[in-house]
Amino acid sequence: MSELRSDLAIISNWIAPGSRVLDLGCGDGTLLDYLKRERDVDGYGLEIDPDNIVACIKRGVSVIQSDLDAGLSDYFDDASFDYVVMSQTLQAMYYPSRLLSEMLRVGREGIVTFPNFGHWRARAQLALAGHMPLSRALPNQWYDTPNIHLCTLKDFEALCTRLDIEILQRSVVDTAHRSNFAISLLPNLLGELALYRFRRN
């Protein structure tokens, strides 16, 4: 298979072989397909887009067409997964905090990734140019974007504290999904994409 998108590669490195994974907003099923082949992982994807449903089925990924904003209680009992993953989807949810709690209701650990709104280029565009940020990580105009709940690393970590969520691992990368020394010094300023692994405290 083709090389895995590198943020997905980071996620898959965090997932123990043989575990059960639920992928929220699983897209075309790339991650689950990879985890199934390479990590002997068993899991399901949740997805709302009809074309992605078809793509998942073509890959043999078990996918449930459903709206994440409606929550997970329709389908999943408490503690039914080892990991619940949500890749670049949190910022498009109506109720991100409710969904984070739901993730840790049905899963032992949660993994989320999101574009960092605190990146210096986003800050500069707002502060200096005076318009909503546009970048490779945030390509949509403000009036036509699925991203209704953007946040910074700081915001996300504050929410975790409020929800009594313990962050186990964090990775902050640039748009090429690489990390470097500078990013590790000033992640909220220099990181474009944030990845977190966490559990209930």
Binding site: Y44, I57, K58, S80
Partner: protein, 382 residues
């Protein structure tokens, strides 16, 4: 009538009938000492006999699912859109079996066939059959055809209920279960509609307690009303509005009780054409099979427990505007399968056609269906 057979059609087909001598004990306790099942097949069974697909029909369906019986036939089988070369159920890859269920009126043993014990038509004396009885009879047909395991059992509506029952009763005999526009049981509202259907049939002066054939009549009025009611519930409010609106047949109202609105004309036509092609006693039996279906009942209402031992992989499909077998009901099936960590995919197709959508080649629906079937095709021997 087809001018010529379309290239993606299974072509001309001839039904076959198998006579079964082994008695079948039914859920109701009665025994059918012998019976016939009429069926059609499309495509070729491969040497490994692992490419067989069973089609389960819905309330008014039958064995004629695809192709044409003759060049004079006006329309192909009821699921011709899905079965044929290159179609979702690709007859270049699969061997497809479609039968008329017991109690039907299209050639399998049912109320309009002769009871060998009396030499007379069964009529209302035909026992009430259940979805489980059907599955049992279908399993016997599979034995006759040399099929120990279906690549998939597929059905919509009441057909989907048979698929569920198959997965429960014979977990090792099917690899895939495709359940379309179905439900784990009927809601009170659905049973209520069925009761109105039964009352319409049984209160027709021509019904004669089900012995209408002996009187040389048909309860045409009852059949017509039953079908009209059915049709209203198979469509959505939206679909009817789009199809008919308030359009008048003559362009103006005439202050009378003849057909005025197009929708009335449509319903009357549907009702009348049903009279010629369906049997009232069969209709009654089918509504009962629907009402009684409830595999969770044996497990204290726990559907997850009922599905705990299924081995098939599932594809479940529902349609947003289907209010007789609403998406919520399909989600119950999905949830129960997830409870048991069963492999399942679920598509909730945006469609305005109501319950009838399962017979319509809606692009997203058929993309999902086709993709899933293509995966199954990859698993079967060449």
């Amino acid at each position: 009538m087809p001018e010529s057979i379309p290239v993606d059609s299974v072509g001309l087909v001839t039904p076959q009938t198998h006579h079964f001598d082994q008695p079948l004990t039914l859920d109701c306790g009665r025994v059918l000492a012998q019976y016939d099942l009429i069926y059609e097949t499309y495509g070729e069974l491969n040497a490994a006999a692992d490419n067989a697909i069973l089609i389960c029909h819905a309330l008014s369906g039958d064995h004629h699912a695809a192709g044409y019986h003759s060049m004079d036939e006006r329309k192909p089988g009821w699921w011709d859109s899905a079965i044929g070369p290159g179609k979702p159920i690709d007859t270049n890859r699969f061997f497809v079996v479609s039968l008329n269920n017991l109690g039907g009126c299209k050639g399998s043993t049912g109320p309009n066939t002769i009871n060998p014990d009396t030499g007379k038509l069964w009529g209302p004396d035909f026992p009430i059959v259940t979805v489980r009885d059907w599955v049992e009879s279908q399993a016997r047909l599979a034995n006759i055809l040399g099929i120990t395991q279906w690549a998939a059992v597929i059905g919509g509506s009441l057909g989907g209920m048979q698929v569920l029952q198959w997965a429960i009763d014979y977990p090792e005999r099917l690899r895939h279960a495709v359940v379309i526009a179905a439900a784990p049981n009927l809601t009170a509202q659905n049973i209520a509609f069925n009761e109105v259907v039964r009352q319409a049939l049984r209160s027709d002066p021509g019904f004669h307690e089900g012995r209408y054939a002996e009187h040389g009549v048909v309860p045409a009025h009852g059949l017509k009303i039953a079908r009209m009611l059915g049709h209203i519930t198979y469509l959505s409010d939206d679909a009817m509005r789009k199809k008919f609106g308030r359009e008048l047949r003559e362009g103006k109202i005439s202050f009378g009780f003849d057909v005025e609105f197009q929708v009335e004309s449509y319903l009357r036509y549907q009702g009348e054409s049903f009279v010629d092609r369906f049997d009232a006693n069969t209709y009654l039996l089918m509504t009962k099979a629907l009402d009684y279906f409830d595999p969770a009942a044996a497990h204290g209402g726990d559907l997850s427990a009922a599905l705990a031992h299924v081995q098939a992989r599932f594809l479940v499909v529902s349609f947003t505007s289907d209010w007789r077998f609403a998406p919520e009901r399909s989600r119950e099936i999905v949830k129960a399968l997830l409870d048991g960590d069963k492999p399942v995919s679920y598509a909730e197709v945006e469609a305005h056609h109501g319950h009838d959508a399962f017979l319509i080649p809606i692009p997203h629906y058929f993309d999902v269906f086709h993709s899933y079937m293509a995966l199954i095709a990859q698993e079967v021997s060449p």
